[in-house]
Amino acid sequence: MVRHRKLGERIGTFFMFAGPTTLIFTVVMVLPFLYGIFLTFTDWDGQANSFAFVGFQNYRIALFDPVFWTSLWLTLRYAIVGVFLTNAVAFFLAYILTSGVKASGFFRAGFFTPNLIGGIVLGFVWQFIFSRVFPQIGRAMGWTLFSTSWLSDPNKAFWALVIVTVWQYSGYMMVIYIAGLVSVPGELLEAASIEGAGSWAKLRRIILPLIRPSVIVCFFLTIQRCFMVYDLNLSLTNGGPYRSTTLISMNVYQTAFLSRQYGPGQAEAIFLFFVVAGVSLAQVYFGKRKEVEM
């Protein structure tokens, strides 16, 4: 049927159905992305209307900037810790919730709640907790670890970011893990029990391999979110104390908008894109290779 339609009609259909979306997508994502790459080879300073071609200079400035590497390394550490902790907590919660507990629906809904709130608000909530509530508790109970605000020390501020990230995303990942765990066929587990397998063995040999798709998805999502974090960074620590928790997204933003170095800023962003794309794709690829088919 489709083959016999007139060309005009086919073009018409294309424009009506796919046209708007394609147009908008191109103009909002493709064009700026390509233009962004173009910009990294010019010396645009954000204000002037003319710019000159400068080759790889922006990349040189960006990639030779120690602050950029400090920030990237910091983000990497943050992402690794964040991804593993989030997934560990999420899986742990999911495991307990699917092992026959009362009111699991209530808990499931409850643990998910932090994820509903946007990063900005979450950051402010925890900023209050870390700078006002914990110090009070710490001083009252004599716990030196909590006597001062965690946000005024670089190491503690780093962990503050991690904690809030885990808190924010563990519920979300937990929900995905629950779905994965629930789909593990009961018969397999029963059969294993009959054979005398303990919980730990069941976990390692049956459950974990079978929920691999969930694991891949969760890792993918948490890696993406950790690398791109900005809202939380802004409201919780604002890169402080003394710029020690400036993660890479904030660094890109500041290079461009604070230090007025738009070319290097965009170069950093492009580099970041390659890093994130590489890590995500690698993670999915290696994950899928080991996937167990049902």
Binding site: Q47, N238, P241, Y242, F257, L258
Partner: protein, 420 residues
């Protein structure tokens, strides 16, 4: 008499011409967060008095620099009609601002406009505020401790004062750990003393960028940081210096819980809300050495701290005219002058404004006294948009004891060497 009539006629004419258009909507980007609420009131008064113009005040985040805010607005096509900027930022937007050299208020101003003049003599902005900063002291606290503020002209004398205050049962001072306060204002004293004027500043900065100047060998920087060491020792917040919030400081000084607080006169609105004696405060200079006769130990930096530029690129001619009318209104109309002096507690940069504040403003008075005695230092507006953030971070590390003095010098030098 005639002048007033002419002004009145001009105002009426301009009002007429504006009422001819439908409501012209103009915006003012406010980079003085502490007067946000006051400016909104001023905007209401102005809009009510000016038929056909509505003025909206746009705030800026406390953590964002004026430069950041305005560049983003220009980049996204949303430039405000009026932009309140630091002097150093005005030249960066010069090609976008209206030339105001022929405005009436230029001649009535006490400012020399050096910071905002282009090479061709165009004046790019309106001087909004005259401000100063230094060590604000609480008269009652000092009196009780037996300290005479007028006699503190050396670092040693300052330390002695701190000790006396401490002995009287009160903390000596509170240091606000904000990056902008430490880098732009506190360190500003050292830049000011080294530079002496705008030309001197430009050459000093050029030397720093080229690596010809080294702050560790600069007497002003060394002396200032020596004083800072003394301040750190007696800082009420020294157990966790970076956890002190900006709001705590005026509360502590106002309530007499500390004797000194380094800040500018813009802290007055916050301070007055905590002060029992509305007249009980003043400024003393930050001493840079132990030589009492050094000029710099007697003066505080005073200057025009905020200028307002009018955008000519993204605002219509009607909006530009409305913006110019607002500036005229501030200088020449009763309610405008009242807005400056009383509502916003600003020291205006205009000779013709004779209005005295109806409510006490001891910090302004202190500044006027220094101006009268010609004991003022050049007000420095640092010509690097991220100085406050990066060098501020270094100062914070130094305040918290994370780096030593050598490292601080190195970081300041490195900052300039790596800035364009």
């Amino acid at each position: 008499m005639t002048r007033k009539r002419v002004v009145a006629m001009l105002l009426i004419l301009s009002l007429f011409s504006f009422s001819a258009f439908a409501d012209v909507h103009i915006t003012l980007l406010n980079t003085k967060a502490e007067i946000q609420a006051q400016l909104e009131d001023v905007a209401k008064v102005f809009s009510a008095e000016s038929a056909g113009i509505t003025l909206e005040i746009q705030p800026v985040q406390a953590s964002e620099s004026p430069f950041q805010a305005l560049s983003t607005l220009y980049a996204s096509g949303n430039a405000p009609s009026l932009a309140m900027m630091d002097p150093a930022d005005i030249p960066l937007f010069a090609e976008k601002f209206l030339d105001l050299r022929n405005e009436k208020w230029v001649k009535d101003s006490t400012d020399d406009f050096e910071a905002v003049k282009t090479k061709s003599g165009a004046i790019m902005a309106f001087p909004l505020t005259v401000e100063g900063y230094g060590l604000i002291y609480n008269k009652a606290v000092l009196a009780k401790a037996g300290v005479d503020p007028t006699k503190i002209h050396t670092t040693a004398a300052l330390e002695e004062a701190f000790q006396k205050i401490q002995a009287s049962g009160v903390d000596a001072l509170i240091i606000a750990p904000m990056d902008w306060s430490l880098a732009a204002h506190f360190l500003g004293v050292a830049y000011s003393v080294t530079a002496r004027n705008q030309a001197g500043l430009e050459s000093f900065i050029a030397d720093l960028k080229a690596g010809r100047a080294d702050v560790s060998k600069n007497k002003a920087f060394v002396g200032l940081l020596d004083t800072f060491d003394v301040m750190k020792k007696y800082n009420a917040g020294k157990s966790d210096p970076l956890a002190i919030t900006l709001d705590e400081c005026p509360a502590l000084l106002g309530r007499g819980k500390v004797g000194f607080y380094f800040m500018g006169d813009w802290a007055w609105p916050a301070l007055s809300s905590f002060a029992s004696d509305q007249n009980g405060f003043g400024f003393i200079p930050v001493p840079l050495s132990n030589n009492a006769s050094d000029f710099d130990n007697s003066g505080i930096p005073v200057g025009v701290t905020k200028y307002i530029g009018i955008d000519k690129m993204q605002n219509t001619p009607e909006q530009q005219a409305a913006a110019r009318a607002f500036l005229d209104w501030l200088v020449y109309s009763k309610s405008g002058q009242n807005a400056l002096v009383n509502t916003c507690s600003i020291i205006p940069a205009f000779r013709n404004i004779m209005l005295s504040p109806t409510t006490p403003h001891p910090l302004s008075e202190s500044i006027r006294a220094y101006v009268a005695q010609k004991n003022t230092l050049f007000w420095v507006s640092i010509p690097a948009p991220d100085h406050w953030s990066k060098v501020g971070a270094s100062m914070q590390k130094y305040l918290a004891g994370k780096i030593d003095r050598r490292r601080l010098y190195a970081e300041i030098n490195d900052f300039w060497k790596s800035t364009k």
